[in-house]
């Protein structure tokens, strides 16, 4: 057998992966409908009793009725068809949205995401573009150049950056050394520290070149105390820099331990058995949410102010979460999509959206979280191409659908800022469509 085949087959995964997967599938409601008739009979009695009590309460109490009518609904879906012919610049006014179609002189590069600027590569050189006050795509000029040599924890970085600054605090940089960078703010950047047993962020002050380790001084005794157990730790820090989520992977990926470190108070909380997706903060309360795999559950739970986990999803609902305040939820029984607000628990029904918007597709929040983009896949067998993007404004309660330009295979889509959404094509001389949302 060739070396490649041998190598692929030697990669280790959980030995009980298939069994765990089948356990989860069997726990789905589709199967539960086929369970014992006796259980159904008992359930029916309970449901009937509950319905009588519910009806009585509904009839006499306005407050009770209000508890069950919290859902707002988006009624109107506006379809936006992009320009058909890619040209240098084509402007189409489409009601509330203007679509501009550009052909780039180079390749759209999105290695580090979109931070208010469009990086375009040509002949190994990256040029940054931005949208000016006239809504035109123009070349951006770096505000400054930064060069530092940094040594920390046995590692050495040569930092060589062109810094581009936008409004109000958006910044982006071109890294000449192909290092991995994550944006934090205009003057402090996050470096990824990789050691033998640890992957975690550290901060670099671009002005002084000083390094700050947000996790310095934190201990994770349960992990460090496991003798002869190789482990890896990865951590991320939220945008407000007050909470770190740490996942420790034990030997051979056979277990995870999650910690939350409060970077302001120094407290470390172990979050057992929770599969954390991300953390968000709400005033002084930190909320985590994740899918819970234990006990065959697949639910989103939020850590409430009282320290207990509150379940925000019903059984039979699927969720998609990509960070930020909102989650897309699909309820198969009702054949509806909701936008779930993790902050308030409110649900916004995406009315007029049928099964074309697939929960398996990604959602993307705008930088401030004021808008959400959701990709739509055609889920018929044999075709899973992205068809369109729905742009949802939860505050304004509007939703528009941006159809993909015919012939364009999208390489990247995302918010340039809160009012501009882009869909960019693959390869050299990429086409790119910029939608102005206001």
């Amino acid at each position: 057998m060739k070396l490649y085949d041998e190598t692929m087959e030697a990669i280790r995964f959980s030995e009980d992966f298939c069994e765990k997967t089948l356990d989860r599938l069997e726990a789905r409601p589709v199967r539960r409908q086929r369970r014992l008739p006796r259980a159904l009979t008992a359930a029916a009695c309970i449901v009937l009793s509950t319905a009588v009590l519910f009806g009585a309460a509904w009839a006499v109490s306005p407050e009770f009725r209000a508890l069950f009518l919290p859902n707002e609904r988006i009624e109107t879906v506006e379809q936006v068809t992009p320009p058909e012919e890619p040209g240098t610049v084509v402007v189409n006014d489409l009601g509330s949205i203007t679509a501009r179609y550009y052909k780039l002189d180079g390749k759209f590069a999105n290695h580090d995401g979109i931070h208010g600027f469009l990086p375009v590569e040509k002949d190994g050189k990256t040029t940054m573009y931005r949208i000016d006050e006239n809504e035109e795509l123009v070349e951006a000029q770096p505000a400054r150049h930064v060069r530092h040599e940094v040594d920390y924890a046995g590692q050495h970085w040569d930092i060589d950056l062109d810094i581009y600054e936008g409004e109000p605090s958006i910044a982006a940089a071109v890294d000449q050394n192909s290092m991995a960078w994550c944006l934090r703010d205009a003057n402090t950047w996050t470096l990824t520290l990789v050691t033998a047993d640890c992957v975690r962020p550290i901060y670099l002050d671009l002005t002084t070149g000083e390094i700050t380790d947000p996790l310095a001084g934190f201990a994770f005794p349960e992990v460090e105390g496991l003798e002869n157990t190789p482990w890896a730790m990865r951590a991320s820090v939220n945008a407000d820099s007050d909470i770190a989520l740490i996942m420790c992977t034990l030997a051979d990926n056979h277990g995870h331990i999650y910690y939350a470190a409060d970077l302001k108070t120094g407290e470390v909380q172990k979050i057992a058995e929770q599969k954390i997706g991300d953390g968000v903060t709400k005033q002084n309360v930190t909320m985590y949410h994740g899918r819970i795999y234990s006990n065959s559950e697949n639910k989103i739970k939020v850590l409430g102010e009282d320290g207990t986990w509150e379940c925000l999803l019903q059984e039979g609902e699927l969720s998609n979460y990509e960070g930020g305040r909102y989650v897309i939820v699909e309820n198969h029984g009702q054949k509806q999509l909701y936008l779930l607000d993790l902050d308030t628990g409110d649900r916004l029904i995406l009315s007029g959206v049928d099964g074309a918007l697939d929960i398996a597709s990604g959602i993307m929040p705008s930088p401030s979280g004021s808008r959400i983009a959701m990709a739509s896949f055609n889920c018929t067998a044999g075709s899973l191409a992205t068809k369109a993007f729905a742009i949802i404004d939860p505050e304004g309660q509007t939703m528009v659908t941006l159809e993909r330009t015919p012939g364009m295979t999208e390489g990247m889509a995302g918010f340039l800022d809160d009012t501009h959404f882009i869909i960019a094509g693959f390869g050299e001389n990429s086409t790119i469509c910029i939608y102005s949302l206001d």
Partner: protein, 153 residues
């Protein structure tokens, strides 16, 4: 369903691993796809169509994960490959060091046996692009591994 999970899990896990570079995330992605399959119960004309659907779904799920806020802003977990023999470890590390756009077509073509046209459909790329990426990817792998690839793939 058990047959489908047992039959396709190994291939799907390897493909997801090549996208996400660690086993835990790969297992999550593949499990998500099986869950979606179970919920939707799509109908297929034959096994090849079912396999293609699963592959496309895994590729889409992995791409979604890679562009998600959590993935983009978190530190990547480095997979411990010390359990592999040195030559296998070297090959896998070389493969993972390549750009995703080269290593995924390489894997689908040389390991899974998909044609260029089939890969184009799975990855939503023009066939000519897939062909050039296969050619360049093989050349890059050869270069990374010191110039000798005739025994690798």
């Amino acid at each position: 369903m058990a047959w489908i999970v047992h039959t396709y899990s190994p291939s799907l896990l390897r493909a997801a691993f090549l996208y996400l570079k660690n086993a835990a995330d790969a297992e999550d992605a593949v499990q998500d796809v099986f869950l979606s399959y179970w919920e939707r119960q799509p109908a297929f004309e034959n096994e090849a169509a079912r396999k293609a659907w699963l592959y496309k779904s895994v590729c889409n799920r992995c791409r979604d994960k890679l562009r998600s806020g959590w993935f983009r802003h978190r530190a990547q977990l480095t997979e411990d490959l010390s359990y592999l023999p040195p030559e296998q470890s070297e090959l896998l590390e070389a493969l993972l060091s390549m750009d995703e756009k080269y290593r995924i077509p390489l894997h689908l073509h040389y390991y899974e046996g998909y044609t260029i046209k089939e890969i184009a459909a799975i990855l939503k790329l023009p066939p000519a692009t897939v062909g050039s990426r296969l050619s360049r990817g093989r050349a890059m792998l050869k270069q990374i591994l010191g110039g000798n690839d005739y025994e690798i793939i």
